[in-house]
């Protein structure tokens, strides 16, 4: 996957999009939303949407998309190529939230928490599809928070669209599985090819999954702690793992 503008500036957010299939502007469509990389202390969080005409749901099933977590990295990449190749009826869009945006939002003086950031990003992507003329009638969303309130919020924002918010929606609805594959492939690609803006010379890229409990991630966080600056912008400073390490091994900073 080509991450385009995010490769040149990974300190800010970035939106990547496919072309809008003509048929999506004339036929009633369904749209799935999922995210990748919510938990990790390293790298961006990626939100993905995927949409197609409701009449093409069976064709989507034939592509054998499944929850991205049950697939290997290669399987996900192959499936993304298939989805991206089905240009006549499948469209997608991604919003990459840079770790720097996540840190500065969550540590802002007027706190902007991860849930609000997630909701706003998802809403922004649905609005993008609507603005581009996609005839949305059904939206399916995967969630980690309370589903009912989120469903109400989205239904009110997008009257005329049937919104379904479910935990584990990525394993229930193929269009959400498709969105989760797009998001996960982009997240993996961004992490693997991370271009450090800091002048750190050759950086050890053996950072593991990025999850705080991964021993490789832990070792990397210990190795790359700078007593004054803390971490490169690749790290989410708002994660307690990073804060605990800075508190114990770095110098104290008072704001």
């Amino acid at each position: 996957m080509e991450l385009g503008p995010f490769e040149t500036d990974n300190a800010v957010n970035c939106r990547l999009t496919s072309q809008i299939p003509d048929v999506c502007q004339t036929e009633d469509c369904c749209l799935g939303i999922d995210e990748a990389g919510r938990g990790p202390v390293l790298g961006p969080m990626v939100y993905g949407i995927c949409f197609c005409p409701i009449s093409k749901k069976d064709k989507l099933k034939e592509l054998k998309v499944a929850d991205s977590k049950t697939l290997t990295e290669t399987e996900r990449e192959n499936l993304f190529e298939k989805l991206d190749g089905a240009k006549s009826y499948i469209g997608w869009a991604l919003q990459i939230l840079s770790p720097n945006t996540i840190s500065t939002s969550m540590l802002q003086r007027t706190k902007y928490n991860l849930n609000s950031l997630s909701h706003d990003t998802a809403i922004g992507l649905v609005q993008y599809a609507l603005d581009r003329g996609v005839q949305l009638k059904e939206v399916f969303v995967d969630t980690v928070g309370p589903a009912d309130r989120y469903e109400d919020k989205l239904s009110k924002l997008f009257p005329g669209i049937k919104v379904t918010v479910r935990p584990k929606a990525d394993s229930l609805f193929p269009i959400v599985s498709a969105a989760s594959i797009c998001a996960k492939v982009a997240r993996d690609c961004a992490v693997k090819g991370w271009n450090f803006a800091e002048d750190l010379g050759e950086v050890d890229t053996n950072y593991g999954s990025g999850y705080p409990n991964d021993p490789k991630t832990k070792a990397w966080l210990l190795k790359y702690l700078d007593p004054v600056f803390g971490y490169p912008q690749f790290v989410r400073f708002s994660w307690s793992t990073a804060q605990t390490l800075m508190d114990s091994k770095g110098v104290t900073v008072h704001w």
Binding site: A11, T104, R109, V228, F229, Q233, V253
Partner: protein, 136 residues
Amino acid sequence: MSCNTSVIRVQASSVEQTQRVPVHLMPCEIEHNGTARVSQYLTATTKDCKHEKTVSFRGRGLRGQEISCPQGYTGLVLKEINKLGSDQEDRTVRVSSVFDKLTYWNLETPPNSDDTVVMAMDWPELAEAIHGPVED
């Protein structure tokens, strides 16, 4: 009642030859006296926009700008030669580097003319206008 009568002596003899360094005024207190990898972390990630610079430090968004020292003034970075035990004793500091401009940073707020450091740099000119000799 006691009064602190200690004197601080500045060894300023070699200011002309002293190296010029970039100086950053941070909107936080960093409990650290010593070297820091400023160019590798801060300078390398600073973005120059139209009216301001942006960067992040410890996950906080900073916005700042470069300002010059008032005309005729030179900024000095001073280092204490001997750490003394008592604040009653005289102190001697040497000039470790000099600067004629600095970058100051606000936490999240865009730099503006009300910022204390900007007003401070205006003070010498203002003081001259108030206290200088009046011409007829």
